[in-house]
């Protein structure tokens, strides 16, 4: 059986490279791989494209990644939250690029990448700025725009429990973007609260099967 459990946070993070596209899970407080993000903050990585619903709040997590100069571009649905001071300043100063994507389109673009598809037609954004430059199609009398898959070089996700093979379950609404990001990245690193023995997870209830997980870091909390 492939060994996926990282010996340390540093080992888990050591896979990342400069200029990577990094999908980072979480929505609000739930499902944020806080330790993995902190690990990247101390890594000296540069030119990362970060995909997350928001652009960081306060001075921790993604906000700290921005402050440390690791990030070249953010892809988000809601970048200007009231506490996103670091991003707002850096964006205004031209120090970071931004692509704003409707939230459902963002999730579906990643699911699409994970499913090996080349894009999809969505009614979301028809007649808005989001449609600019995108081919529009009429299907059975309804308008759609073409959205392309969004693939990550890496995904940093958070899960509730993991078994030795790397199967994951999530807790409540902390699931959010994590399962689709796990699918959409070439290399997925999971931060997990607890490792349980083989067969302790109900196979019917596993949300992310182990094939999508390349490495996991157990935090014990």
């Amino acid at each position: 059986m492939k060994k996926k459990k990282a010996a340390s946070l540093e080992e888990a993070i050591s896979h990342l490279r400069d200029e990577s596209v990094v999908l980072i899970g979480g929505f609000g407080y739930g499902g944020v791989p806080e330790q993995l993000i902190e690990g990247v903050c101390g890594s000296g990585l540069r030119g990362l494209t970060i995909v997350n619903n928001n652009a960081g709040t306060g001075h921790t997590g993604i906000a700290r990644l921005l402050e440390e100069g690791c990030v070249g571009k953010m892809i988000c649905s809601f970048p200007f939250a009231s506490e996103s001071h670091v991003f707002k300043e850096m964006y205004a100063a031209g120090k970071v690029d931004l692509e704003v994507v409707p939230q459902g389109t963002m999730a579906e673009r990643m699911r699409n990448a994970g499913a090996g598809l080349g894009g999809f037609l969505t009614p979301t954004g028809v007649g808005t700025e989001i449609a600019e430059g995108k081919p529009e199609f009429d299907v059975d009398g309804k308008k759609y725009i073409l959205e392309k898959p969004l693939r990550g070089d890496f995904a940093l996700i958070k899960a509730y429990k993991v078994d030795p093979r790397g199967n994951l379950i999530y807790r409540k609404a902390a699931r959010n973007f994590n399962p689709v990001m796990a699918m959409a990245a070439d290399f997925t690193i999971a931060e997990v609260g607890e490792e349980v023995p083989m067969d302790a997870l109900d196979p019917e209830a596993i949300v992310t099967p182990s094939v999508y997980v390349d490495c996991f870091h157990v935090t014990g909390g």
């Binding site: 739930g30 649905s77 200007f80 979301t124 609404a173 959010n176």
Partner: protein, 229 residues
């Protein structure tokens, strides 16, 4: 040219009163998406005996009101606006792609969204102000196009006196032709193929007060009720 108006020098509805009025129209067995901002306040006003399934974009199907006790606040159970909520009996969690499949796929009977502007043709603007480099879309574009009805809830007039009930949007659109009803601190309006119909007026306000605070001609039906606030 932007029209400026002065809201009447009379008490208008509070945000909570607006949310309470809107909640009265959420029907039993509906699946309803609740957006961020004022919409969140509608949750507490859905009568307990009425089984409305509330959807939160972050994968909660069956969202309940905030927990009563501080110790029941759970960081893994927050609304789209990042406030603590609960899960009702029989509730479920899904991931983000499934959450938005539900929205786009036509399972929402209604979405309750905040707005910068609503136009007479039902166009909705709520993500970006004119001239800004960018803005916050969040889940609004997907949810607005997917829901069978969109209830917009907003102040009737912006802080600087610009009407938000308009003939045509001057703000960048979020979705076209989607809004079906509007709940403001002055009135309840429905959006019809002929334009805005004034359904209800806040207590103490006249029909003329409401019309004067709009940049669109309102259709006046024979009976215009007073909002039960």
């Amino acid at each position: 040219m932007t029209v400026k108006v002065t809201a009447p020098d009379k008490p208008l509805l509070s945000r909570d009163q607006m949310a309470k009025r809107l909640a009265q129209d959420l029907e039993a067995d509906w699946v309803v998406n609740i957006g961020i901002g004022i919409p969140t306040q509608a949750v507490a006003h859905v009568p307990k005996e009425r089984d409305v399934i509330l959807h939160s974009e972050n994968g909660i199907i069956g969202m309940g009101p905030p927990p009563e006790r501080e110790e029941d606040v759970d960081r893994d159970l927050m609304s789209a606006g990042k406030g603590p909520v609960t899960l009702v009996p029989g509730g479920a969690f899904v991931h983000h792609a499934d959450s938005f499949s539900l929205a786009r796929g036509g399972r929402l009977d209604c979405a309750v969204l905040g707005a910068y502007q609503v136009a007479a043709n039902g166009d909705l603007a709520n993500w970006k102000v004119p001239g800004a480099g960018s803005g916050n879309i969040g889940g609004a574009m997907d949810i607005a196009v997917g829901a069978k009805q969109v209830f917009a809830i907003m102040t009737h007039v912006s802080k600087d006196g610009t009407p938000k009930i308009v003939d045509r949007l001057t703000y960048p659109p979020t979705a076209l032709g989607v809004v079906t009803r509007v709940y403001t601190d002055m009135a309840v309006l429905s959006v019809t193929p002929d334009g805005f119909v004034l359904e209800e007026v806040a207590p103490g306000l006249s029909v003329d007060d409401v019309q004067a605070a709009c940049d669109a001609k309102l259709i006046l039906p024979p009976e215009i009720r007073t909002i039960a606030a």
